[in-house]
């Protein structure tokens, strides 16, 4: 069985500065995989590389066996990978409903259609309503996304990410800046919505990571120093030394 995501010997330099060194990562289909690491380790860069936001200097990235390194983000998205952003990245002047609907349109095959009335597409409407229901924002459907509370915007961010029905979901610090109660809600949401899909998540909150992930990879200075189950990572002396320290017990 081919892996959902395969990163083979990827390097990324910005000028003379090498951010990612010999990055190797394997995410199996259906797995919940967390990437952790200290600040500046290159977690977001890794996300940007896999999702096509930036191109690797060398190396190869595969999505479901197909080489995607060098493709544009929308091409990778059409092949079944969707990501969220650490900083909320929604369509601020459009309503919550429209935000999610836009994310549904390509996946339902409507593409650049200018001959169809967008309000008369039952499949689009059903799917949008379903997702709004899933992310608990149905009661806010007509509010411009820019006017939502922070936690609501984070939920919408997840909603937009999953709306297209991608098989691989990548979430970049989905609970950043949330209160404890909000984090719990968000984790439950993520667990439910990514059921049966592959999930890659970057997260700082260790309780979220160890509660959610099947496997964990530890990234330090642009290189993955360990990859394994939560128990393996907990017991790994290299990880303890490099990163986790007292945080895990």
């Amino acid at each position: 069985m081919t892996a959902a995501i395969q990163v083979n010997a990827v390097e990324k330099s910005f000028g003379n500065v090498q951010i990612i060194r010999d990055l190797n990562l394997n995410v199996a289909k259906g797995e919940r995989h967390a990437i952790i690491g200290p600040n500046g380790a290159g977690k977001s860069t890794t996300f940007n590389l896999i999702s096509g936001h930036i191109k690797p200097t060398s190396g190869e990235i595969r999505l479901n066996g197909e080489v995607t390194s060098g493709l544009r983000p929308f091409e990778i998205n059409r092949r079944g990978l969707s990501r969220s952003f650490q900083v909320t990245n929604v369509f601020a002047r459009m309503t919550v409903w429209e935000n999610v609907r836009c994310a549904v349109l390509w996946a339902t095959g409507h593409r650049y259609a200018f001959w169809k009335n967008v309000d008369n597409l039952p499949e689009v409407r059903q799917r949008t309503a379903q997702i709004l229901d899933d992310i608990h924002l149905s009661h806010r459907r007509d509010v411009p996304a820019g006017l939502l509370t922070y936690a609501e915007q984070r939920e919408l961010e997840i909603g937009i990410t999953i709306a297209g029905g991608a098989s691989v979901i990548m979430l970049d610090e989905p609970t950043a800046g949330m209160s404890h109660a909000e984090t719990e809600r968000a984790v439950a949401l993520i667990r439910r919505l990514t059921e049966g899909r592959t999930l890659v998540i970057v997260e700082h909150d260790m309780s979220v990571v160890f509660g959610l992930a099947d496997r964990i990879s530890v990234l330090v200075y642009g290189h993955i120093i360990a990859s394994g189950t939560p128990e393996e990572i907990r017991g790994n002396p290299k990880v303890k030394e490099a990163y986790l320290g007292e945080e895990v017990d």
Partner: protein
Amino acid sequence: MTNAPTPSLAAAKQEPGSALGFYGVWLLAAIALIVLPLIFSSGGSLTSFCLIGIAIIFALSYNILLGQTGLLSFGHAVQYGLGGFLAVHVMNAVASHNWPIPLPVIPLVGGIGGMAFALLVGWVMTKRAGTVFAMISLGIGELVASSSLILRSVFGGESGITTDRTSLMPMFGWTFGPQIQVYYLIAFWVLVSAIAMYALTRTPLGRICNAVRDNPERVEFIGYDPHVVRYLAYMFAGFFAGIAGGLTAINFEIANSAYLGATQSGLVLFSAFIGGTAYFFGPILGAILVTYLQLGLTSVTSVWQLYFGVIFIGIVMFAPGGIAGILMKHRPLIRAGTLGTVIPSYLVAAIPTLAFALGIILTIETVARFSGGDVINLLGIPFVATAPTTWAAAAVLVVGGFLVARITWRRVAEAWDRAATVARDRGYLA
């Protein structure tokens, strides 16, 4: 906290039941367009209506770029003008070959011309939005406008290319010689174009245009190429601009280099912005106002362009949403029934604001007519530009008006806050 009962925004919801209201608006517009020349039947007003109609199509086409897709173009007149030129050439060809093509089809030719040019240059232009697009559009605008003076065989040089709209085959006995027949031709195209452009905003492409306007980066991660979206929007804008150009060619029976120039491009930006780009109907209001002012002011003052500049600066600074933005701001208050509490403060504020505006007008006219010119006639009161009493009056109006207006507008803001709070409590405002 998101579980807290939030008053539903029932008012803003778009239900299929509103279809009746939707068709009702267009039906009313159609009736208005038919009846208008019967009420105002003088030749002058008929000419004005024709110009306003064309300006509406042009401004709406511009808003496909600016308001819908977030593309600021400084060269939209290129598509308009080229549409006009192609229309003239085709009209002349049709007339000389006696082809059975009636005049009402010609605006479509203009549209195809505008679209063809957009197709040609658009892919390179729309690679980036923002400053890059704005600069390239300015460059293309200048390029085409200056070429039009050089390539005489196509553009006819300074004098342009003339045509005769009555030389095409008549349709239903109409020769389109009389202005009233041209008016109905334009009115037909205004209605068709406006409906088509509104419909475009309700399509998947139209919605994604908005998404590209708001956040092109994110669009790439929901499967869309923002470059393609911008390119398609640019072609549609070019198509409808070309229709407006074709109608202008029919209306004046000429196409010349002025159609393509920066002035024309500036005017359409001005119309769309003053009207308000955030709402579909905004540019319609802007086109009506700007065309009306253009026609009205030129006969009253020699420095009418100066007033355009002042109005533009005023809108940009105090009402960036344009006229439509101002109007729509009141909608939740009307729905909540609290508009009445704001109106008295408006009336109070109107007096010093008017005084201030009159002071500005008096100042501008004094400067403009200081070294010779007619006596200034302000609300029937004559002012001599060289008289110190005029200067004093202008100064008192400007300074006094400004100071008092500031206080009264603060009152307006307070009344607004109270009314908006009530509207929010009643669930009509997010």
